[in-house]
Amino acid sequence: MFDVRKRGGIAALLAGAALAFGGAAQAQETFKVGIVTFLSGQAAQSFGVPAWDGGKVLIEAFNNGTAPAPYDKKGFGGMEIVPVVIDEAGGATVQVQEYRNLVQRENVDVVVGYVSSGDCLAIAPVAEELKKFTILYDCGTPRIFEDASYEYVFRTAAHATQDNVGLARYLKAKGVEVSTYAGINQDYAWGHDSWADFTAAMKQVYPEATVSAELFPAFGAGQYGTEISALLQARPDLIHSSLWGGDNQALILQGLPRGLFQRSQVVFSAGDHAMPPLGANYPEGVIVGARGAYGYMAPDTELNRWWTKLYMDAYNVIPVQAPYRMAQALTGLKLAVEKAMEANGGKKPTSEELAAAMKNFSWESPAGLIEMTNGGGHQAIQPIAFGRSMKNDAGEVVLGDIVRFPARCVNPPADMKGIDWINAGFPGAQCD
C-alpha cells in the first residue's frame, strides 16, 4: 500500500529529497504509534495535554516492562513503542492531511488519536481508504459507527449516549426531584447532541419534567454573565451542562458568587477535569460525570492503583478522564498487538491482523472492562459512574455518593442507534 515503494527505484532516485522523509524501511524491533491530540488551543489544558501526559508515562512503563500483568511484556510484544505526536489543532481539513502524512510519510504502524468529533468523522473514511489500523480514543459523537461501518477504524471509548443516559439514571437513583430543568451547552455539535440526549433521557426517566430554558453560548465564549442571569431567572430545579475545559471553569467561577449553585442543582455531564485544578474552590453538591468510571470514580483494582500511582508520581495530580481514555486505548492496543502476534507466529502484525484481533475484543483497563461489542465489534461500551462534589476529611473537594452503572445499562444494544434506544425507553438495558 505504500506507493513510494511500489513505484520502485527510478522514482525513488528522481523524487530524491522528498523520499528521504518517507522511504526508509522500519527496523523490525520498533512499533511506531502516531498519536494525535490537542497540544494547543482550548482543548489542550483539559484533554490533549493530560491525555498525552498519561500516554507518555504508560508507554514508558510498557517499554520498560514494569506494568502489571497482563501488560507486563516489554513494549508491544517485545517491540519498542515509538510515539510520534501531532497537534490536533487546525480543524478537520488540517487533520486529514496530517493523518495522511503520519501514515504515508512517517509510516506509523497505527494511529491513536482525536478528541474532536468533527476530526473523527473526517478521519475514519481516510483510514479506511489507506487501510491503516486506527483507534479513535476520545471523541463522543455516535455518528461514527451509526452512520457508516468501517474495517480498520475502532473506538475504544463509549460514545456520548451513555453520558446523559447515565446522568438521568443517577438523578433517579439518588431521588433528585426534578419538575423543571434548563440547559447551558456550547453551540456546536457536542453541546447540541448532549442536550438532545439528555432531554430525551429525561422524557423517559422524568416524564413530567419540563424544560424552562435552553442556552447555547458560543464555544469559548468566556463570558457567561447574561446566561447566568437567564438561568437564575428561570429558577429551574436542575441545570444541565456539558461545558468542558475553560468554558466549564469560567461558568463555575462566574456563577458561584451569584448563587447559581445554590438556586439550582447543577449537573456537569463531563466536568470532572475541572475539579483538580479548582481544588477547594470547586462548588459542593454539584453532580459530576466523567464520560466513564474515571478518576475519583474509578474502580479499586490493582491495575487502577498502579496506573493512578504512575500518573500521580509523574504529575502530582489525579488522572481524570483524558489520561484514562488514552490508557484504555493503549492497553487495548497492546493486548491486540500481542494477540495478533500470537496468531501470526510472532511477526509484527499488519493492519488487517490488528483489526481482526481488536474486533469484538475485550480487556481490563484501569477504568474497568472495555468491550468492543457495538458498531460491528468496532465500538466500545464501558461502565460509567457519577458522583456529587463534597468535601472530604482533609477539606479537599472530591466526588462522593458515587453510583456506577454497568456498560449495558447505559449503552444501546449493538443493533440500535443511541437516540432511538433512548426514545424507545431503553429496551434491553441490563442495570444490575
Binding site: Q45, P217, A218, Q233, P257, G259, P277
Partner: protein, 298 residues
C-alpha cells in the same frame, strides 16, 4: 419589566468589558493605522500577568483591595515589556505599507505570542480569586450580581475618559491628534513621531493587558483565551468606526446589548448576532458609525 432591566444590565456589563478591550485597538488604529491582531495575545498575556503579580503583592501582607491596584501594575508591566519590543522592534519598519500586510505581520506576532505564552506558563490553568471578593455582592431585582462585575462599568468609563482627556487636554495628546491629522506636517514642525507612535502603541498594549487582567478573576487563565477576544473586538471597532473612541463605546454598547437580548430571546442566534449587526451597520454606514467621510485622493 424585570426582564428588560436584566437584559440591559447584563448587556452593559458585557459592553464594558468589550469597550476596555476595543478601546486600545481603536486607539492604535487611529494613530498608527494598524489593525493589531496581536491585541488578543496581549490580552491573554495580561491575564497571566495579573495572576502572577497579584499574589506577589498579596505576599507582602497588603490588604485585599490592593489586588485591584496590582492588576493595573500587571498591565503596565506587560506594556513596558511588549510595546517597545513589538513597535520599535518590528512594526516601525512597515509604516506606510499596505494595511493588510501589516495585519498579517501582527497575525504572525499573535501566533508567536500564543506559543511563547504557552512555553512560559505551561498549559495548566491559573486562577485569581481575591479581586472578585473585594466588592461583595449586590441584589438587583431578584438576582445577585457581583460588585466586581458591575465595577467593570466604572473601569470602562475611567479608561474611556482617561484616553479622551489625555488626547484633548494634555500637550502630548494634542500633539498626537496633530500626528493623526497630518503625520508629515507634524514631523516638519518638529514633532518626534517615533515617540508618539511608541506612546500610542504602549497605551494600546496597556489597555489590552488591562482588559485581560480584569477578566482573569472571571475565567480560568489557560491557553486558547485569546482568539475569541480578537474577533469580537474587531467587530466592535468596525461597527463604531475605526479609530473613533466614541465609536468604540457605541459599538460596544450595540454588540453588548444585542448579545444580551439574543441570549434571552433568540438563543439560537447568539453565535452570529455580532456579525449580523456588523453587516447591518456597514451596509448603511460603509465606514462604521463614527468615521467622518474622507476626501478621496486625486
Amino acid at each position: 419589566m424585570d426582564l428588560v432591566l436584566t437584559i440591559i444590565l447584563d448587556g452593559l456589563i458585557y459592553a464594558s468589558w468589550l469597550f476596555i478591550v476595543a478601546l486600545g485597538l481603536t486607539l492604535v488604529f487611529g494613530v498608527l493605522r494598524i489593525l493589531n491582531f496581536a491585541h488578543g495575545g496581549i490580552y491573554a498575556l495580561g491575564s497571566y500577568a495579573a495572576v502572577i503579580v497579584t499574589p506577589f503583592f498579596a505576599g507582602f501582607g497588603l490588604p485585599d483591595w490592593f489586588s485591584i491596584v496590582s492588576m493595573f501594575i500587571a498591565a503596565m508591566a506587560v506594556a513596558i515589556v511588549l510595546a517597545p519590543l513589538i513597535e520599535r522592534g518590528l512594526l516601525r519598519f512597515f509604516y506606510g505599507r499596505d494595511e493588510v500586510l501589516i495585519l498579517l505581520i501582527t497575525y504572525s506576532v499573535f501566533l508567536m505570542l500564543e506559543d511563547a505564552t504557552k512555553l512560559i506558563f505551561g498549559v495548566n490553568p491559573y486562577y485569581l480569586f481575591e479581586p472578585r471578593n473585594v466588592l461583595g455582592n449586590v441584589e438587583i431585582g431578584s438576582l445577585y450580581y457581583v460588585g466586581y462585575d458591575l465595577a467593570l462599568g466604572g473601569l470602562a468609563v475611567i479608561c474611556g475618559a482617561g484616553v479622551w482627556f489625555g488626547l484633548r487636554r494634555t500637550r502630548i495628546g494634542k500633539v498626537t491628534l496633530a500626528v493623526i491629522a497630518e503625520p508629515e506636517v507634524a514631523q516638519a514642525m518638529g514633532v518626534n513621531i517615533a515617540r508618539i507612535y511608541l506612546l500610542a502603541f504602549g497605551v494600546g498594549v496597556f489597555l489590552a493587558a488591562l482588559g485581560g487582567a480584569f477578566t482573569a478573576p472571571l475565567i480560568s487563565v489557560q491557553p486558547g483565551n485569546s482568539v475569541s477576544v480578537i474577533i469580537v473586538s474587531f467587530a466592535v471597532v468596525i461597527i463604531g468606526g475605526l479609530g473613533s473612541i466614541p465609536g468604540a463605546a457605541v459599538g460596544a454598547l450595540i454588540v453588548g446589548l444585542a448579545r444580551s437580548f439574543a441570549v434571552y430571546e433568540f438563543p439560537e442566534a447568539e453565535i452570529f448576532i455580532i456579525y449580523l449587526v456588523m453587516v447591518a451597520v456597514l451596509i448603511f454606514r460603509p465606514e462604521g458609525l463614527f468615521t467622518p467621510v474622507k476626501a478621496r485622493k486625486i
